[in-house]
Symmetry: C2
């Protein structure tokens, strides 16, 4: 990106799926769960054609719907089993490059009215909401100057090698809460003690965006990738220094706001970590109405309404 | 509201204008400024019929557009003058009850590419974005317990008499920044010293919603009322006590989170102040993913994308 890169460009880089004008997603197939009329995902027609559907699913090509069938008395188990058999078969036959020919941890469908989970690598094939949790660790001097702990990803990482990251971040597994995720990852990635994180890390909000896979993402292209990021802050004292523990982080920098901004505009951050940093900047008075013309659009764009259920339906 | 009132109900109470499905606002007239194709407001057909239009405006009933004409070399002055002559005439003829037969302070059209302002009471007739600034003053104990300074509006106020409010709040006048507004109002409404507020008040974000006037609002009904709230926080020491100074506030309470919640769910807060409090609760870890099922919808709804320009256009 050029030196004229703006915060909005960094957001658009992640939030790359066009806005729904009531027509856009009509070319996609809606993913429907038993006994629930709401969309839980959007599938590309090419994915629907290639998927090795089993009798657990009904595909309606006219209405463009993929319906998980109620094949048992327990809607939760029926749905989980239906997805697992299908994904097993897709991995065995090596149909989708995005599955990398291997199994991955379980993610939850958060809008479902009963527990439903399926493998992480498969979630973007179904256009299901992925969830991450990001923790920003910072120090604050007596005069109010903020410094942020920024890790550099190891050069051998499969995704975004050598790029800058949120202090601590991870995908939220089906069995975890976002806070559990942060506590585990803070230990694994940054050697931050569980007791400290449980006491001082604070929930600060949730960010939403709709990505779209492109040649840069590897794997299938044009997939809709709705994403939630749960944002947490932790203020660390001068004596607390994050240290790499697993091999995912190369080193940590303690950078002032100007250093972080420069790295953001050089596009050195993993794209969705730039969103987390922009939200941190807004909440801490660094990006304001009086210094950022796009202030309102940035705030709304970081909280884009997703066209997919984000909570169980009422009643 | 019943005891089962939820945060989302409080938000919907303010954000009452239905979502744009690409058709909704097609019955409204778009307000267009010279040399700029973007909508800066949405006007009801009944408002357009009653408005005493001058030759400074072109009304297109087919395309449903109200175009401010370029009647001089200076687009800013031409637009300001066009609105003023029109509003003067509407007030003189007492056409709209929402104008209260009187002039009001100037508000800015924030999306305009050059300075344009018009009177506050008239802004909702044109469906222009209004802007407010709200400051939440709070204390935090050593153990992290938060208490919030909550004012009760005087019983003789014209709007929302006797209801609870944000610690300090005001409409942002054309010549002011949101921060200027907070500094002035903190002095006038709460006797908080300018020096303290300039040093410790921090910008924390911006909230957006689309109201719709109803019988409860008084005046014309069905008007689209887009609104921005710039949110600021200030942590006060134990020795600092807000005191009413003008006659708009009856008294201040220092309430813990449970007291504030109960008052919110009893609908004692002025509606848009409940939004400010909900945003404060999210940013301070009080409303979280693990205690609020609607967490994601609340966060996106507080940052609704407005169908109106929020910044000058680029290039």
């Amino acid at each position: 990106m050029s030196r004229r890169t703006k915060y909005l460009d960094l957001i658009k880089n992640c939030d790359s799926s066009p806005e729904d004008d009531g027509k856009l997603y009509s070319s996609f197939y809606k993913l429907l769960l038993p006994d629930d009329p709401r969309a839980h995902g959007f599938m590309l027609p090419s994915t629907v054609r290639k998927m090795p559907w089993t009798s657990d699913f009904a595909i309606d090509h006219i209405a463009r719907r993929v319906q998980v069938l109620n094949t048992g008395s327990d809607l939760s188990n029926a749905s989980i089993s239906a997805f697992q058999k299908l994904i097993d078969s897709a991995i065995d036959q090596d149909i989708f490059s995005i599955l990398h020919g291997q199994h991955s941890e379980m993610y939850r469908i958060i809008g479902a009215n009963y527990p439903v989970r399926l493998e992480r690598f498969a979630s973007s094939l179904f256009g299901i909401i992925s969830r991450g949790a990001h923790l920003t660790a910072y120090t604050c001097s007596a005069s109010g100057d903020i410094r942020i702990w920024v890790p550099r990803r190891s050069a051998h990482m499969f995704t975004y090698p050598g790029m800058l990251d949120s202090t601590v971040a991870g995908g939220v597994k089906a069995e975890d809460s976002p806070f559990d995720c942060i506590v585990h990852e803070a230990d694994e990635e940054a050697s931050l003690p569980e007791e400290l994180v449980r006491r001082d890390a604070k929930s600060c909000g949730v960010l939403t965006y709709m990505g779209m896979s492109d040649p840069g993402s590897g794997g299938e292209q044009g997939l809709v990738c709705p994403d939630l990021i749960y944002a947490f802050d932790i203020e660390l004292g001068d004596g607390v220094v994050p240290k790499p523990r697993d091999d995912e982080v190369q080193e940590f920098y303690l950078w002032d706001v100007e250093q972080v901004k420069k790295a953001m505009f050089r596009a050195e951050f993993k794209p969705n970590c730039a969103l987390v940093m922009i939200d941190f900047f807004i909440r801490h008075g660094i990006i304001r109405e009086d210094n950022e013309e796009d202030f309102v659009e940035i705030a709304t764009r970081l909280h884009r309404k997703l066209p997919i259920a984000t909570a169980p339906s009422k009643g």
